[in-house]
Amino acid sequence: MSYFKEIFVGGLSLIEGMAVTVRRLFQPLVTVQYPRKKIPLSSAYRGHIELKIFEDTGTHKCIVCLSCEKTCPSGVIQVEGVKMKEKGPKTATNYVIDFSKCSLCGLCVEICPTQTLQYSREYELVGETRSDCVIDCLARLAKQVEKKEMETGRQLGQGDGDGNV
């Protein structure tokens, strides 16, 4: 008797399973055809780091304290700078990151004393050699400033422009 019961119950379970799949057949699709349609990024998305543009100076506030370079676990950041005036902090002349080693931990963003680092929202990065992964943040900042000035039609940075906090 249990022979027939097992066949019957087993068969019924298979039909129930098939009902689940056929119901999904008529539900809307959850995938998106990527290059033709893109999903918006979340607000907290972590791309590679970039220098922030401050409203009062129109540029970054990096004082070349080298905290980010020392705190990075993977040795991603390289900063160099010179003193622009006799009294005052240094300004960065070279800010380069090697994104091929970055693990997006965010320690550099948190430790910066002038809050000059932020996450970018880049995710469509393509490179063909190792050197393509090296990003020059100052050049990137200059491009962004130029783009912003063209869009708004006014010069950024009405402050004294020497990087004083």
């Binding site: 399973g17 098939m18 689940v20 799949t21 056929v22 999904r24 057949l25 699709l29 995938t31 055809q33």
Partner: protein
Amino acid sequence: MSEGLLGSEWFRLILGLLIVLGFASLNALFLVWLERKVAGHIQLRPGPMEVGPHGLLQTIMDAIKLMGKELILPAKADRKLFFLAPVLVFMPVLVGFLVLPFGPSMIIRDMNLGVLLVFAFSTFTVLAILAGGWASNNKYALLGAIRSVAQNVAYEIPLLLAVMSVVLMVHSLSFSEIVTSQKSVWFVFVQPIACLIYLISATAETNRAPFDIPEAESELVAGFHTEYSGMGFGLFFLAEYTNMFIVCAVATSLFFGGWNGLFGISLGIPGVFWFLFKTYALIFILMWVRWTFPRVRFDQLMNFSWKVMIPLSLANLVVTAIVLKLI
């Protein structure tokens, strides 16, 4: 014998052959696309969308790609058998198209042994699989081929016993007679168990999930067609879909009324559309089953056949015979 449609027997035969080849190829191309779309939509994704509108040209491009690949012959493999196996899998299946009743007078050759012909020629696949597995000179391909042979032989028996139940009722092995005797009521209502047994055995015969141990990346053994590349693999693939069509067409003719409408009501639609619609509905059910269930383990598969399917189909046959004797 039915009247020749256009007079000359030879003309009818050659025309039929060309139609069969064309239909079989188009059918295989369409079924591959349909399988990928059905699989996609069950899995909440669209399936092929890029090549052609909604991916319609995908199969043709895949076939062209397969034709362009190198035909690799493994070292110390049996050359003749190795290249014969895919051909042996594909060709005999085409013979089955000769006797399928597409419409009231649309049978290429209405033989009085039609059912026997179809099943005799579809058994060739077993030989071809064994030939392919043996000729590959690969111990895992051989194991896969052996398993496939055991599975096919085991499920052939309930398949034929289920068909015998229908043949007993009609007293004939000819397809057109079986279909005409379902004018008023389809045999699925008279013999539901036989229909179910037939469909399950047909799934096992065509090596489709959940019985697809020989061909899926089944755990260790990679299947009998591991060593095949390019068009050899393509032929195995096409043969599977053509086999699926034949098996569902036979099921339609034997159990679902062939070209008859439901309970004799045909709604003015010609019989050939009823036939095709029912066949493709059964094929859709086969695909639906494939994407729902996990695979059955090999010893459980054999147990299922020998301990469940064969006793049930034998019992069904005996009951049919007794009932026919009494009425």
